[in-house]
């Protein structure tokens, strides 16, 4: 045992002495923080790349996130400290000195606690944050989380820094996760493209081609230009290697574009569908030219804002000139994220109630007079907009995305954003809900009966008045849920409804008034066409082209894609 110990001691001694003579990374970091000159700061941070000290890594990460603080010691000197993860009841945390990992204590040896806002955060800027990111990336090549490992490798590969090459090769030997292996191979190839040896270089270029490395195409193109301008410098074979690699990547990109465009088209279609479905019921089935549809959506959006306030930090609004304060529950994390689910239900209910009031108060008198219903609902839409302005202010309000709707995932270089996927799924859900209600319930049967022939339905004992009311409320409720969805991708303000009303009418009319299948196919067609045209023609001209196409189509088929005979259309 003793021998083992002494062996360990002697064995470790040389390392220990090396560590002692080399600059202490923690000291370097503290020096970097105190440094005034931005360029020197960056150099110092870069020196830390090989230190591997977890405290340094924590310090750097905190610095980048504005969470590293300067504490004034008793002697007036300022030392950088990290705050602990656990906060006490007052939100105070223990502080750890960056230089020696010691907890800051008072004279009696008791740990002192601080609130983050009592301390000054160490300044940072985008340059220093980039340098920190590079340094942390080198740390991160060995991170236990594969996703972070991969991000680090991709980033470092771009730098084509030969110093990193041994790190990559070392990691590649032990790496098991396919994504990271791919990233490592890409990084190695990228770095080798700048190698002095033409054989290594050309092999690396071909490798990038076979790997379909999208990230390196800019670099390859630039190299091709240089090689053309000065063939002598790059030697034989490079042009052929570059050409084939670029072609490989370009054809791969075209596939990616195709899939990407398809996804974006479907996602825009889903947005249109969700927005228009309520109108497909109130206007399409019932024949009410409902200009207030957009504002009913806005009711849903403001409901979402309200629910968010209740779950989060509360909110202020004015009601009939008085300021009302709603105290929030102050939830964070998953509890807060749940607000969105509640908000979806709540916006269905509130918008449904608004629809109910609208139907009882105004629309039921106007079923036989569609033109007046247009004017009346338009008036209602103006009134509602002013109500929003007076209640929540004329500026837009902010709705934060719940955690599960932020970010995206990538499949072979095509991006799928979570909020878009959610809206596609939600569109499917709403369509299913509507279909089930209309075809599987007795209310649905009555609705269809009333829509087809009100007098006859009334004769056989259907309470048409009640059915109208329920249908309009249901359509409004759907519009409210659409408004809740829109908070995730658009602005919430008094003008929200105005931004969507034209698109909604366009989709419903194009699909054929009175036909849900028509609405679905029309939104699909308009969405996909828009996304296909936009990269070619730009957003402005793309939209104009789609509108022109719709007008021409309606000239040819005035009743839209699908023709349904219904009460309202028969007059």
């Amino acid at each position: 045992m003793k021998r083992l110990l002494s062996f360990l001691l002697y064995g470790l001694l040389p390392f220990a002495s090396v560590a002692a003579t080399a600059t202490d990374p923690r000291k370097v970091l503290v020096q970097a923080i105190a440094e005034e000159d931005a360029a020197k700061q960056v150099d110092l941070v870069k020196q830390l790349a090989s230190s591997g000290d977890p405290l340094v890594a924590r310090g750097l990460a905190a610095w980048r996130a504005n969470e590293l603080y300067l504490l004034t010691e008793a002697d007036g000197s300022k030392v950088p400290v990290l705050l602990g993860a656990k906060a006490d009841a007052d939100g105070k945390m223990r502080a750890v000195r960056l230089i020696d990992a010691a907890t800051v204590a008072d004279a009696a040896g008791q740990p002192r606690v601080f609130r983050a806002d009592e301390l000054t955060a160490v300044d940072n800027n985008s340059r220093i944050r980039r340098a920190i990111k590079t340094t942390l990336d080198l740390f991160a090549i060995t991170d236990p989380v594969p996703k972070l490992r991969r991000a680090a490798v991709v980033k470092l590969g771009q730098e084509q820094n030969a110093e990193y090459l041994p790190h990559f090769i070392e990691s590649l030997r032990t790496e098991a996760v396919p994504d990271v292996v791919k990233a490592l191979r890409e990084a190695i190839a990228l770095t080798r493209v700048s190698d002095a040896d033409p054989i290594v270089r050309n092999a690396a270029i071909r490798e990038l081609g076979t790997m379909r490395s999208v990230n390196s195409i800019d670099l390859l193109r630039e190299l091709e230009k240089k090689a053309k301008a000065d063939p002598a410098q790059f030697g034989d074979g490079i042009s052929a290697a570059l050409r084939s690699a670029i072609q490989d990547i370009e054809s791969y990109q075209q596939w990616g574009n195709l899939v990407g465009t398809a996804f974006r088209g479907v996602s825009l279609s889903a947005v249109l569908l969700v927005a228009a479905l309520g109108l497909a019921i109130t206007f399409g089935l019932m024949g009410v030219i409902n200009m207030a549809h957009g504002e009913v959506m806005a009711v849903g959006a403001y409901t979402t804002f309200f629910v968010q306030g209740v779950f989060g930090n509360g909110l202020l609004f004015s009601l009939l000139g008085r300021t009302v304060t709603v105290k929030g529950m102050g939830l964070t994390g998953g509890g807060f994220d749940a607000y969105f689910v509640v908000a979806l239900a709540a916006s269905f209910v509130t918008a449904g109630l608004v629809g109910l009031a609208l139907e009882r108060g105004i629309i039921r008198f106007l079923y036989k007079r569609p033109l007046e219903s247009l004017l009346a609902t338009w008036g209602v839409s103006l009134i509602l907009q002013q109500v929003f302005r007076h209640t929540f202010g004329s500026a837009n309000v902010q709705v934060d995305a719940p955690g599960f709707l932020q970010g995206s995932f990538v499949v072979s270089d095509v991006l799928f954003a979570y909020n878009r996927i959610f809206i596609i799924a939600f569109a499917g859900f709403v369509v299913f809900l509507t279909w089930a209600l209309l075809t599987k319930t007795s209310l649905g049967l009555q609705i269809r009966a009333v829509m087809q022939n009100r007098t006859m339905a009334s004769c056989v004992g259907v309470r048409t008045d009640r059915v109208n009311m329920m249908t309009f409320a249901f359509g409004s409720g759907l519009a409210g849920m659409a408004g809740a969805c829109m908070t995730q991708i658009a602005n919430v303000g008094p003008g929200l409804g105005q931004n969507y009303i034209i698109d909604c009418f366009m989709v419903v009319v194009l699909g054929g008034v009175g036909n849900l299948v028509g609405t679905i196919s029309a939104s699909g067609g308009v969405g996909v066409a828009n996304q296909i045209l936009e990269p070619w023609l730009g957003a402005v001209l793309g939209k104009i082209t789609v509108l022109t196409a719709i007008i021409l189509f309606l000239q040819w088929r005035p009743n839209g894609l699908f023709v349904t005979r219904s009460r309202s259309l028969d007059g």
Binding site: D123, N125, S126, R127, R129, R130, K133, K155, Q158, V214, N215, S216, I217, D218, L219, Q253, G260, T261, R264, S267, L268, V271, S394, A395, N396, Q398, D400, A401, Q406, G407, S408, V410, L415, A417, Y418, N419, R420, Q488, I489, A490, N491, G493, N499, N530, Q531, E534, P535, G538, A539, V540, K543
Partner: protein, 408 residues
């Protein structure tokens, strides 16, 4: 307690004096900003800061001993109405000077009126240049003061590809045309510049963000954004969802100042850049006084010395920003020129304006013979609080409206 007799006398005298001051001669000054319609959100703040400045000046005795009497009109974000209201101010109200306009189209709409009636207009909002009227003074940032410095900064940061994204109207299109020429002169090839426009109120930024993602794959790209107003929200939401950040692809926005942040989710824009000649966060004693005075003024708004009721000032969450500062400095420059000329006569004031210096909240500015200012330019990084942190300062940049003069 019963007031003593001398006190009553003193009070009456003070009252009389105040009355005398009110009755004392006033000088009418026009305020031409939209107080309703789409632009009201931005322009109302400028009306507020102008009234605040008149109050500041009147408290110190006015201009040439005359109290400033504001004449506020509302052109309602309606461009032809700007010309009508300008005419009304100059012909009917006979104002000595007008402070106003935000959008370039509104300025261009009332420019002929100012030239016909020989009026005087101070224009405070960053614009595309290529215009110079003898009747307009542009305290606003010209293109070489707002667009060129951040591009230089991006080039110095090693950015090689530029994505020019803007709303589809005159300011972004002209600015980007100039920027493209400038980038070409710096050796950036056409293939590395992308120019994209979206309509006002555009919400679907999927395609654009996907193309940015592709464009920035090499890591050396940046975005120069002239997107206006609330279209920034869907853009930045989509941008963040695509995993793009200020570190791998920074966005420089020309149309977002502190005042716009009141309606934007600042958190999602944190780390991106803005470029202005003033930031609320700059810590000089003069600026702290300006910000403090303004914030307390909005709680009890009034214009001292004249019979004018201030209305429509929202005291909640107020900030100061570059167009507001430039508005205020315009008033002071005009005041100094009037005092130098000794008259309110437009031709004499115009001559006196050239060379006027004013120590503003963050630096001293000089009015040049070309009706533009020499001003400091700051590049700032957005903080989650909706403020900016200065990361680079360009001292004394001389505003130049015509691009051929600074593009060589």
């Amino acid at each position: 307690m019963k007031p003593s007799f001398p006190k009553i006398i003193a009070g009456a005298a003070a009252g009389l004096l105040a009355f005398a001051a009110t009755a004392a001669e006033t000088v009418k000054v026009g305020v031409l900003h939209s107080l309703s319609g789409t632009m009201a959100i931005s322009e109302t703040s400028l009306k507020d800061v102008l009234l605040f400045t008149f109050d500041e000046i009147n408290k110190k005795g006015g201009v040439l001993g005359k109290m400033i009497e504001p004449v506020v009109v509302d052109p309602a974000s309606n461009w032809p109405l700007f010309a009508e209201k300008a005419e009304q101010l100059l012909v009917k109200d006979k104002v000595s000077v007008v402070f106003g306009c935000w959008t370039s189209v509104s300025r261009k709409s009332c420019l002929p009126v100012f030239e016909k009636e020989n009026g005087l207009l101070f224009y405070p909002v960053q614009y595309e240049g290529e215009e110079l009227s003898k009747n307009i003074f542009y305290t606003a940032e010209a293109v070489n003061q707002q667009a060129i410095p951040p591009v230089d900064y991006m080039l110095s940061e090693g950015k090689k590809k530029f994505y020019l994204l803007g709303s589809d109207y005159v300011y972004p299109r002209t600015t980007n045309k100039i920027l493209k020429k400038y980038l070409k002169s710096k050796g950036i090839p056409d293939s590395d510049i992308e120019e994209i426009y979206t309509p006002f109120g555009h919400t679907d930024y999927q395609t654009i963000v996907a193309s940015i993602k592709k464009f920035s794959a090499g890591g050396s790209a940046c975005i120069i954004s002239t997107l206006n107003g609330d279209t920034n929200v869907p853009f930045f939401k989509e941008f963040a969802n695509a995993g793009l950040t200020s570190e791998n692809c920074p966005v420089v926005s020309f149309s977002i100042s502190e005042d716009e942040f009141r309606g934007l989710p600042a958190k999602q824009l944190a780390g991106h850049l803005g470029c202005w000649t003033y930031f609320m966060s700059i810590k000089t004693p003069e600026n702290q006084k300006f910000v403090g005075d303004f914030l307390s003024w909005v709680k009890a708004p009034k214009v001292t010395g004249v019979d004018y009721t201030v209305s429509g000032v929202d005291p909640k969450g107020r900030v100061t920003c570059s167009p507001m500062n430039l508005s205020r400095m315009g008033v002071y420059l005009w005041k100094q020129a009037v005092e130098k000329a000794g008259t309110f006569d437009v031709d004499k004031v115009r001559d006196a304006l050239t060379g006027q210096k004013f120590k503003g909240p963050v630096c001293e500015v000089t009015m040049q013979a070309n009706h533009h200012l020499v001003n400091d330019v700051f590049i700032g990084e957005t903080l989650p609080t909706g403020q900016f942190k200065v990361i680079k300062t360009f001292k004394g940049v001389a505003g130049e409206p015509f691009s051929e003069k600074f593009l060589k």
